[in-house]
């Protein structure tokens, strides 16, 4: 037992130390808040790809999503579809989003919304929605660390002790997130991403080939596992559509994912990063679900699908494979939680407090760091206090239905010139509140609407209000000119430093967001 513990704990400790070592080796003092918040817009495509994937797939991929595949079959593959279609959307919006970011020094998703609508109120509302929606997910991810540490310690610790240890380790890790900002985050995302998604995919293939007879095990499953919801069962025809659609539009509503666009050193690198991320995500998610389907043939896993990854790994490869399975989940969990803590602190400082007070770069950085510490401590305390509170998952689902309400002002704001700040604020706020209310009454699906999830009717309300108000109360001529100017500027990047450019005197358009 002691030697097995040494293997599982030792392998994870070594990985943790390697990450910390990389942070120190690559550390560079920030030159300002933009450096701290978006790494000085300096990263190439591989960093963007791995950083995006780390911000998108939390550690619970190996717990909840694998569990979904084990328990419910093909429905779990919705994660494959929505992740890839969501990434395609990132490709489409890369040019305008990055160019605006570069020109107007945008650091966050609400920054972009504030610029587009020339509205402080829209920016603050978007930021508050983002921070509130991330909180239950951070709490759940910290609690998932408890499950991870139970297996890492070979179930020698009580549930509470494992939770405290897991949360403690992730809190310690945040010391470097707070200190080193986005640059450290993106660099470690590369290493964590390679382990969590590329090494893991290789492990998946070996597990399938060696233990599950390739695809052989899948054929022992009931055919019901391969029916989509709506083809019999309790759900209506629109359930699968709703969860997939919400996932697609949610992919860039999460502030953590959107902010990665601003860390790239150019539009081309956002696009190439997207292109690199797509096959990695496709292979990883497809294999994850194939492992889930195959593991569903094991009785010990079926009895406890959420722990399927650890049980399967231990059954196939003993202590060493269990240790590697833990490192993989540890790497993904660290990357995901780091990103959440970083973006929440940045948004509180840059979008909320920074919208009401004129702050220097130093003050913005200090407030961001302080906000990260508060967010982290609050998350750790709530994770401990609510460990046995079943409704937390409902809160997380509610927050997902809420955050997708950002999609209307964000996507339409990027592609439709006539959307107004009044439409954005009223639509977004109404959609968010309506989504929370609907999810409270229908946490899983709305049976009388073909089983759509609660966020869909809220999204429809949001869209109707946004378009309706924008058409009924159109932009002033001045605002129209400003937005037209923004769209034209969004097509082209400024020359990188060192490349000569003619400076033309113009400046007739107000380009920086002011109060609504």
């Amino acid at each position: 037992m002691a030697s097995s513990l040494a293997v599982t704990l030792g392998m994870n400790a070594i990985f943790f130390l390697i990450i910390v070592g990389i942070l120190y080796l690559t550390y560079r003092k920030d030159r300002g808040f933009t450096d701290y918040a978006v790494g000085g817009r300096s990263f190439g495509p591989w960093y963007i790809a791995m950083s995006y994937i780390n911000s998108w797939f939390p550690g619970t991929m190996w717990i909840s999503f694998l569990g979904l595949g084990i328990a419910s079959g093909v429905v779990g593959l919705y994660v494959l579809a929505y992740s890839l279609i969501g990434l395609t959307t990132m490709y489409f919006m890369a040019t305008r989003a990055w160019n605006w970011g570069q020109r107007f020094n945008l650091r966050t998703q609400p920054d972009m919304i504030g610029l587009r609508y020339n509205s402080r109120a829209a920016k603050v509302v978007a930021s508050v929605i983002g921070v509130i929606s991330l909180f239950p997910w951070v709490v759940l991810s910290m609690q998932a660390m408890g499950v991870l540490f139970q297996y890492m310690t070979l179930q020698q610790l009580s549930t509470t002790a494992a939770l405290l240890l897991g949360v403690g380790v992730i809190v310690v890790r945040q010391y470097w997130t707070v200190r080193m900002g986005m640059r450290g985050l993106v660099i470690t995302d590369l290493i964590q991403g390679i382990v969590a998604y590329i090494v893991c995919s290789v492990v998946f293939v070996i597990m399938l080939a060696v233990y599950f007879d390739g695809l052989g095990a899948i054929h022992h499953l009931s055919s019901a596992m391969f029916r989509f919801p709506g083809d019999g069962g309790t759900y209506g025809a629109w359930y699968f559509s709703a969860i997939t659609f919400t996932g697609i539009i949610g992919s860039l509503c999460w502030p953590t994912s959107y902010q990665r666009i601003y860390t790239a050193s150019g539009v081309r690198n956002v696009k190439l990063g997207t292109l690199i991320a797509m096959p990695i995500i496709a292979v990883f998610a497809a294999l994850l679900l194939l492992i889930g389907f195959s593991a569903a043939t094991l009785h010990s896993v079926v009895a406890n699908p959420q722990d399927g990854w650890f049980i399967t790994a231990q059954q196939i490869g003993g202590t060493w494979l269990l240790a590697l399975a833990c490192v993989i989940v540890f790497a993904a969990s660290m990357g995901w939680i780091d990103g959440c803590i970083q973006v929440c602190g940045t948004q509180v400082s840059n979008d909320i407090i920074g919208s009401f007070r004129n702050l220097s770069d130093g003050q913005l950085t200090r407030i961001a760091k302080g906000s990260m510490v508060i967010f982290l401590v609050a998350g750790a305390v709530v994770a401990y206090l609510t460990f046995n509170y079943g409704k937390l998952v409902d809160l997380a689902i509610m927050s997902y239905q809420g955050i997708v309400q950002l999609s209307v002002p964000m996507f339409l704001g990027l592609f439709w010139r006539r959307g107004t700040r009044q439409g954005a604020i009223v639509g977004m706020a109404s959609g968010f509140v309506f989504a929370l209310v609907m999810t409270y009454f229908y946490p899983d699906h709305v049976p009388w609407l073909g089983s759509v999830t609660a966020g869909i009717p809220a999204l429809a309300l949001n869209l109707i209000l946004y378009v309706g108000i924008s058409l009924l109360f159109p932009q002033s001529a001045e605002e129209r000119t400003r937005v037209d100017g923004l769209f034209e500027q969004g097509e082209r990047s400024l020359r990188p430093e060192g490349v000569p450019a003619t400076v033309m005197l113009s400046g007739s358009i107000e380009l920086r967001p002011e109060s609504a």
């Binding site: 808040f33 093909v74 593959l77 919705y78 494959l80 579809a81 929505y82 890839l84 279609i85 395609t88 490709y91 020109r103 107007f104 020094n105 390739g214 695809l215 899948i218 055919s223 391969f226 029916r227 989509f228 709506g230 083809d231 025809a237 629109w238 699968f240 559509s241 997939t244 697609i248 539009v267 081309r268 696009k271 190439l272 292109l275 797509m278 096959p279 496709a282 497809a286 679900l289 389907f293 770069d361 500027q489 097509e491 082209r492 990047s493 400024l494 020359r495 490349v499 450019a501 003619t502 400076v503 033309m504 005197l505 113009s506 400046g507 007739s508 358009i509 107000e510 380009l511 920086r512």
Partner: protein, 87 residues
């Protein structure tokens, strides 16, 4: 091919791949385990096919943009307004 035509072609392809997984009559037609394709239950094969098509779509778009030099278009001028407002 004009930029507008390019946008329309890839826009339609994008919508079609999305419809494969969000339009119930389409994906429900692919529901179930049989027939097996490449050793996979049909619904699983269908979802994998959708994934391959999406990846190919973005690869094709990248290649077209590479040929046309459209990945990143640089501006030759900056405005005083922008300079004043950049942090």
């Amino acid at each position: 091919m004009s930029p507008r035509t390019k946008k329309q072609i890839f826009g339609i392809a994008y919508v079609l791949t999305a419809l494969m997984v969000i339009c119930p009559p389409v994906y429900l037609a692919a529901s179930g385990a049989s027939p097996q394709v490449l050793g996979l239950p049909f619904s699983v094969f269908y979802m994998f096919l959708n994934a391959v098509l999406i990846v190919l779509l973005v690869c094709a778009l990248w290649i077209v943009e590479s040929i046309r030099g459209e990945h990143e278009v640089f501006e030759t001028t900056t405005t005083q307004g922008e300079e004043a407002h950049r942090g």
